[in-house]
Amino acid sequence: MKLCRVVGTVWGARQSEGLHGRRVVEVRPLGLQQAEAGTRLGADCDDGHLREASLLAVDPLGADVGQLVLVGIGSRVRDLVAGPHVTTKNCVIAIVDEAVVEDGAREVRP
């Protein structure tokens, strides 16, 4: 699972059947390598924590642009959250109110 921020939605009329009626959001994962102890992450946190990469996920919860979400990646998660015939492995499984880095992520690195 990854903590990500929703940066936009994507739509298209030509899509595989497994995506019909599904909301597709573009998210960017948070990188916590530089986060100090006590950093609070929420919908209002600055973009400095976002990593360059972006990925697309099916969103059954209806997250808004800017919100922090938990994205699960894998077919088991997909089967439970969106159904077994959905054509992706990435699903939004929670809309995060707030996340706190308790210990400086820097020190936790191996």
């Binding site: 936009g8 899509q15 595989s16 497994g18 990925l55 054509t87 492995k89």
Partner: protein, 96 residues
């Protein structure tokens, strides 16, 4: 899933029997940022059932999601990347 752009097509006659797909596309991964769209340099071969064409922005799914696009619920299809949507629009900053 990733965002990509169709940059080419691959032709093959000799295929593994379980590779049922008829059309193979070359898709370059794209990243959008507020200053525009640019390629990340990663290029994948994806099967296509939606008849995506030259220059189309598409969504590519991997793994079991890609197999679901070819045959829902299947496990024995020899596909690990597939075009699942031809993008009409997007609200992500920087996307065309």
């Amino acid at each position: 899933m990733i965002r990509g752009r169709v940059i080419g097509e691959v032709w093959a006659t000799r295929k593994a029997p379980r590779l049922a797909a008829k059309k193979l596309l070359l898709v370059a991964e794209m990243r959008v940022s507020p200053d525009g769209e640019h390629a990340t340099g990663r290029v994948v071969v994806a099967t296509d059932t939606l008849d995506a064409g030259q220059g189309d922005t598409v969504v590519v799914a991997f793994g079991s999601g890609a197999r679901n696009a070819e045959a829902p619920g299947s496990r024995d299809v020899l596909v690990d990347a597939s075009v699942v949507q031809v993008v009409d629009g997007s609200t992500s900053p920087g996307s065309p």
